[in-house]
Amino acid sequence: MELLTRKESWNIAYEHALGETASWFYVQIRDHAKLYGRRDPKSGRVLVPPRSFSDQTLEPTTEWVEVGPAGRIETFTIVYEQFKTLPPPPYAFGYVLLDRADTAIGGFFRGIDLSDPAQAAQTLKVGVRVNTRFAEKRTGDILDFWFELESK
């Protein structure tokens, strides 16, 4: 028999409050191209991106600490598949432990030849040093910066 389908899509938008902590972090990126973390007083860990409380201790964080701009790769992946609403492949992104931080922050890796997966994965290795690059025009967002391999 004839089997029918109905097309439906969800069209709802959200205006998510960032709160004081993330707002301040993004303003520093936008206006000063600087990155900060928050220190968890109980564990001493500097959380980057900054959280107003630690999910390990459930204590409020108490101190801003400037971090980066250099750091090391903690993990990465290189995407070769097109996913709807996501960027055209290939692209590389992952997590970087910025200097003076204790947790890693996500971001894109740019300036790397990704055409050969195996070779690209040799360039982007866990532990490799990277530097943060900031966009000329910044809006106060995580995409205002990305990582490039530290020049030798």
Partner: protein, 399 residues
């Protein structure tokens, strides 16, 4: 012979309810963290005292695809056993109570919230209609409530007057309980002159969605004793049940699921005569028609008596059974967690922590929560000053 506590009795030992004034000051995660901490402070406990967590979270309202993910860190989920009941905020309470009662956990933290960050709450909730037959219709929660009110008005003559009096009552109550956030008190003529939103519901018969959060701490009898926790609100009976999914499959003017949930809870708590068993009730009232249905379903008042009971002042402050002294959802409506707030309000009354609207001399209270289109889910909670309510037979579920 077992009452709800299959292995142990369960009590509410801490509550917090927040209505953030400046929604931008904190992210949702931070607001959830704040309400969870406040409930722990209220209980006099630390997060290390919490064995497990249940949250009630709605992905569409939160704008997070698995909302418990972002909330977990805020409520102490890291390293703990945390579950989520998206079906209803009050289901988180039910599961939390079951988990303690089963003896696997001494304590549970139960948290829910209802933000207003979505572009349109009605549109977000309308996604709950099935895409096969109903999505193309303008069927949102308010329309469903309107359909239910119509069904009720046609089944029971002259109940509009009773409905209006409930709005007046709850807004008056809200003005005492939470003057900072409640809809202002208004006289009967004002309420009666509202503009239709979804006939027969008018703009004075509902309150716009608000941002609210609620958290409760549950503990078993041993823990309550060990920590000498003051004034626990003991859960004596717990019932929950659902209507059919599609509105067309239901009797909108009669809630069989509420009757079933009530029977479960009353049987557990050994309630024989509900009209005299409670000194206070907090019930679902997203519309005043919901409160009327609750009167009937909870065995507090037959539908033929609605108007007379409302006029008599029985359910008002100072009446024999004050209902929604908190002002209910008719004065403050955090859509998704309004039901869990009813339970928290009733528990706080028993614990002597209700605030301006505290009532004296409470032995036993009743809470009712409803969620979903036209009250699909109904949950009934009986709480008392003592762990066990007189004589009771065994748990209701035995066939």
């Amino acid at each position: 012979m077992r009452d709800l506590p299959g292995k142990t009795h369960v009590a509410v030992v801490g509550c917090a309810m927040h209505a953030p004034r400046d929604a931008k000051q904190r992210s949702l995660e931070e607001a959830i963290y704040a309400v969870a901490r406040a409930a722990l402070l209220d209980a006099g406990l630390a997060i290390d005292d919490i064995d497990g967590i249940v949250v009630g979270a709605n992905d569409q309202l939160d704008g997070r695809a698995i909302s418990v993910m972002m909330a977990s860190g805020s409520v102490g989920g890291v390293g703990r056993d945390i579950l989520s009941t998206p079906s209803a905020a009050e289901h988180a309470f039910v599961l939390g109570a079951l988990r303690v009662s089963a003896g696997q956990f001494r304590t549970q933290l139960v948290v829910s919230w209802s933000p207003t960050e979505v572009s349109s709450i009605p549109e977000a909730l309308r996604l709950g209609t099935d895409p096969y037959f109903h999505r193309a219709l303008p069927l949102d929660e308010l329309s469903a409530a309107g359909l239910q009110a119509t069904a009720l008005e046609s089944a029971v003559p002259d109940i509009r007057q009773a409905a209006i009096s409930i709005v007046v009552k709850n807004r008056n109550n809200g003005a005492i309980a939470y003057p900072d956030r409640a809809a202002a008190p208004r006289e009967t003529a004002w309420i009666a002159s509202g503009k239709p939103l979804r006939w027969p519901l008018t703009d004075t018969m509902v309150t716009p969605p608000a941002y609210g959060l609620v958290a409760l701490v549950l503990a078993d009898a041993e823990f309550v004793k060990e920590r000498s926790l003051p004034a626990p609100a003991w859960i004596q009976g717990l019932g929950w049940a659902t209507e059919a999914g599609l509105l067309g499959d239901r009797q909108l003017a009669a809630l069989a699921s509420l009757a079933a949930a009530t029977e479960q809870a009353y049987q557990q708590a050994g309630i024989k005569n509900p009209t005299t068993a409670f000194q206070l009730a907090e019930v679902a009232d997203a519309t005043p028609y919901q409160e009327l249905l609750a009167y009937e379903g909870l065995g507090l008042c037959a539908r033929q008596e609605w108007l007379r009971a409302c006029e008599s002042g029985r359910f008002e402050r100072g009446g024999t059974l004050p209902v929604n002294l908190s002002g209910g959802a008719l004065s403050f409506n955090p859509v998704y967690c309004a039901g869990l707030m009813r339970i928290a309000e009733a528990a706080n009354q028993l614990r002597g922590r209700a605030g301006h609207h505290q009532t004296a001399k409470l032995e036993r209270v009743l809470a009712h929560a409803a969620s979903g289109f036209a009250m699909q889910y109904n949950t009934v909670v009986v709480m008392g000053r003592d762990p066990v309510a007189g004589t009771h037979s065994c748990v209701g579920a035995r066939p």
